[in-house]
């Protein structure tokens, strides 16, 4: 494609040039020239941008399933080595403790959602959407599932994080915590002989379908996953209604694995540049507010910062402040691997953990005799660095007429109101996750197409579970860079927080709330214009 792009550019440019040369050298038609030129110069600034990650854009990988998986080309040799170690760590499948031959691999669980990072971020992208076999009424989430449920007990909105309100951290469900671990090691449960490899509870998924009609009469079917929970560990099967997890005040939010490239660049955007876009009270009356999430920052806490709160940047609701916190929380939570930032097992201090430890002879406590966690500091640093330094894929089909038209429509219907095209990352003595940032991510003009802020996207998409200061209808604007390669990376991937949208078009149609006007404007476009807009998004 790279050559194709150039050829097309030269053809396109030559047509323009020919007309301009004629016009430019002939004063009688100068007005026409002005008009032509004016049309061109009013094209949105991102129309012909290819290198979405600046110098940290991938080379020779942006057209295939390798598009999310290459290191930033501007890393130093030493940084590249660290990145590649992190790559190996990312694919490391952990096993039950004790593993005498491979002590470095043991410590999985005891409860978890998957055994390695890659299983939920396949080829560094999105996880596969779980589908049902024909006539199957529901499916059990097992090793194929890159999705899990966050859980918490309803305790009202939290507006301002303080030490008294535990910095707005969500209230754990008694005996479960804030994430439901649906898988386990063989003996995770006291009833393991009947329920081997089951975690805190079984989670099943099925879909509800609805049809949406465009003003032009075209229709499209949408699906929404519904989750049910069975066999909670805390009560007997006959008594399951009494389980803490099945009470009416428990809130659930499904979370799908998302792509992990370009994250260091997003962390290198200054707080000020993001906050400048926030418009909490919609003072410009465009129907779009945009506000930051303020979240607990364990890195600050470990460094004894008196106010361990930072701007939320990662996760579907911007509930983590850094790649470090996001990755290492997933290492401890999603896989059950303790690490220096999160040294306690995910289910520490619950009845399940106490039963597990006593039944299995305290061999998998999360720490060894010297107090070392299951993942070392070096392992943790490498895997974090890996996720910070994966390159952003370049665009495709930029000079396709439809894509060019779609780029303009994307702005005209104000998708850019939230999907902010560009930033310039910070320079100087900046940190990511509490450590000095690599030069590769500094001072780059990037095009993530996200304002990194929270927006109310309406009831249709709501999870009705707050997350720090984000409410139950708010989501962080997803970066759109690389989105067109999603299915090259994983053909079974879906979009949105629970993978409900099979296509970009379906994802657009789920937008509501602050995005209602843009969605209506999209739906009112002619079919060919809608396709142009989608083609533009797919070129990213």
């Amino acid at each position: 494609m790279k050559h194709f792009k150039r050829t097309t550019l030269s053809n396109f440019t030559m047509v323009m040039i020919s007309s301009l040369i004629i016009a430019g050298c002939n004063s009688s038609s100068s007005e026409d020239t002005e008009t032509d030129l004016e049309q061109e110069v009013t094209e949105v600034t991102y129309t012909y941008i290819s290198q979405l990650g600046g110098e940290a854009t991938a080379i020779d990988a942006s057209d295939s399933g390798h598009g999310f998986s290459t290191p930033m080309p501007n890393l130093t040799a030493e940084e590249l080595e660290k990145h590649l170690k992190g790559d190996t760590n990312f694919e490391r499948a952990f096993t039950t403790a004790p593993n005498a031959e491979h002590p470095e691999l043991d410590g999985l669980g005891p409860v978890f959602n998957n055994q390695d990072c890659n299983s939920c971020h396949q080829r560094d992208g999105r996880s596969s959407t779980i589908t049902l076999v024909k006539d199957q009424t529901r499916v059990l989430l097992g090793s194929e599932a890159g999705i899990f449920l966050r859980i918490s007990t309803e305790d009202g909105q939290c507006e301002i994080p303080t030490v008294e309100n535990n910095y707005c951290e969500n209230k754990a469900v008694d005996g479960f915590g804030t994430q439901l671990f649906h898988r386990g090691v063989l003996k995770a449960r006291h009833d393991w002989q009947e329920n081997p490899f089951i975690g805190q509870a079984n989670v099943y998924l099925y879909y509800e379908y609805s049809t949406i009609s465009y003003p032009d009469g075209n229709t499209i079917e949408l699906k929404k996953p519904i989750f049910t929970i069975e066999k909670p560990y805390d009560v007997s099967e006959q008594n399951s209604d009494n389980s803490a997890i099945l009470q009416a005040n428990v809130r659930y939010s499904p979370r799908n694995g998302m792509p992990i490239f370009g994250l260091g660049l997003l962390e290198a955007i200054s707080d000020a540049d993001i906050l400048a876009l926030s418009d909490e009270d919609d003072t410009d009356s465009d129907g779009i507010s945009g506000r930051p999430n303020w979240v607990f920052d364990p890195v600050k806490a470990i460094n004894n910062d008196p106010m361990p709160v930072s701007l939320g940047r990662f996760g579907w609701k911007a509930s983590t402040p850094s790649v470090r916190v996001q990755s290492l929380a997933a290492l401890r939570g999603d896989m059950g691997i303790t690490n220096p930032l999160f040294p306690e097992e995910s289910i520490a201090n619950t009845a399940m953990h106490e039963s597990y430890l006593s039944r299995t002879g305290f061999i998998d406590t999360g720490r060894d005799e010297e107090g070392n966690t299951e993942a070392t500091q070096a392992f943790s640093d490498e895997v974090v660095f890996y996720a910070e330094t994966l390159a952003v894929p370049a665009r495709r089909n930029i000079y396709d007429e439809s894509v060019i038209a779609g780029a303009q429509l994307f702005s005209q219907i104000n998708c850019t109101g939230c999907h902010q095209p560009d930033f310039i990352t910070a320079t100087g003595d900046i940190q990511v996750g509490g450590l000095a940032a690599p030069e590769a991510i500094k001072g780059q003009r990037i095009y993530p197409f996200s304002d990194m802020l929270l927006h109310d996207l309406g009831e249709g998409l709501a999870d009705n579970r707050r997350d720090f200061t984000a409410n139950g209808q708010e989501w962080k604007t997803r970066p759109l860079w690389g989105i067109g390669l999603t299915k090259a990376v994983n053909p079974a991937a879906g979009f949105l927080h629970d993978g409900r949208a099979a296509t970009v078009e379906e994802a657009i149609l789920w937008h509501g709330g602050e995005a209602e006007q843009s969605k209506s404007d999209f739906m009112a476009l002619a079919l060919s214009e809608r396709q142009s807009l989608i083609n533009f998004v797919m070129s990213l």
Binding site: M1, K2, H3, F4, R6, S10, T13, M16, I17, L20, I21, G24, C25, L37, E40, V41, T42, E43, V44, T45, T47, Y48, D60, A61, D63, S64, G65, H66, A93, T95, T96, P98, N99, E101, H102, Q115, S119, Q122, R123, S128, T131, L132, V133, G142, S143, E144, V185, K187, Q193, P196, F197, N397, T416, K487, A488, N490, P491, A492, A493, M538
Partner: protein, 381 residues
Amino acid sequence: MIFKKSLLAAAVSALVLTACGGSSSGGEETNVEPTGFEFTATEMITNLTNDVIVVGYQNLNSAAADFLLALQSLVNTPTEENLLAAQQAWKDVRVPWEQGEAHIFGPVDALSIDPHLDTWPLNTSDLQALLDSQESFNAEELATFNDDVQGFHTMEFLLFGDGVTTNEKHITDMTSLEREYLSAAAEVFKGYTQTLYDAWVVANNPNIENSPAYKELLLTANNDVYASQLGVVEELINGMIGIVDEVGNGKIAEPFGSSIANIDTSKVESQYSWNSLADFTDNIRGVQNVYRGEFLGQSDKSGIIDFVSAADAELATRIDAEIVDAIAAIEAIAGESDLPFRQAINDEEGRVRIQTAIDALSILQTSLENDVLTKLQTWQQ
């Protein structure tokens, strides 16, 4: 957000000035045709998709069926002869699987088939706990177990033993419950190889009837998966690089260690069956299949070699020789005394031969990365 000046407009302005000013230098610069080469990729993509990848998965599925039959015979008639046949059948399934690792993309990944079939290392303690605690096993139940107690290496361990001093296991060393576990695991395995094959030829998502066969996405690039043939060729070349890297820098180098003092036998793939060198050889044979466009011994068909040749015939020949060299170097590791890889890493002369193989793979990887992949930039489709 509308900006007053786009890059294109800037370029146009400059050209207008050039054209009217009569200066030729800028104009010439713009009119320079990019240097490049032409290659029509349709035949190559069609051949690699249908006759290398899909046929490879068909072979895998068929070998898995034979393997399941062999295990069912072993369950029904537990004799030494049937055990030997089952061990051989395991090695036979290994061939198309390892060769297919030269193109790990699409359904094998999207449907989690790779971890289901080939998770390593396995979890011997959980496996033993299951055998100690359960009275029977069936495929439906076993499919819900974690990946590290199913797939190739779990079955390998049960079929061949721990591999430390020998890869020979006798029927008397095997319980009937182990045979039942094996048979159930082979049935689950066969289900996945069928799913994988169907995903390529029927529907890439088995649960969505109208999802296109994955092969169609390669054959008719310009879809939501591959925006162009360039994406397909890029996928194939990066797939070759991926496995050459894994064999050289992972599968061989990690257990090999930097010296004989820090070898790690526990990291040897297929260490129970002593099939490691066959695995590695088949990995690079898989690269050869994609590069040449045909399986060993078949008549010449279109492969990546033809793409490279269109750009640089000498390079195309050199890469082919480097692949042949790498395969020969891996095969030579066994030496005259036919050492398995897990013993060769602990043998001074064996280590010299292993280093030769690592070097050959490194040369090949560098060529593929620096000389072949970069040809995509000058390919005029």
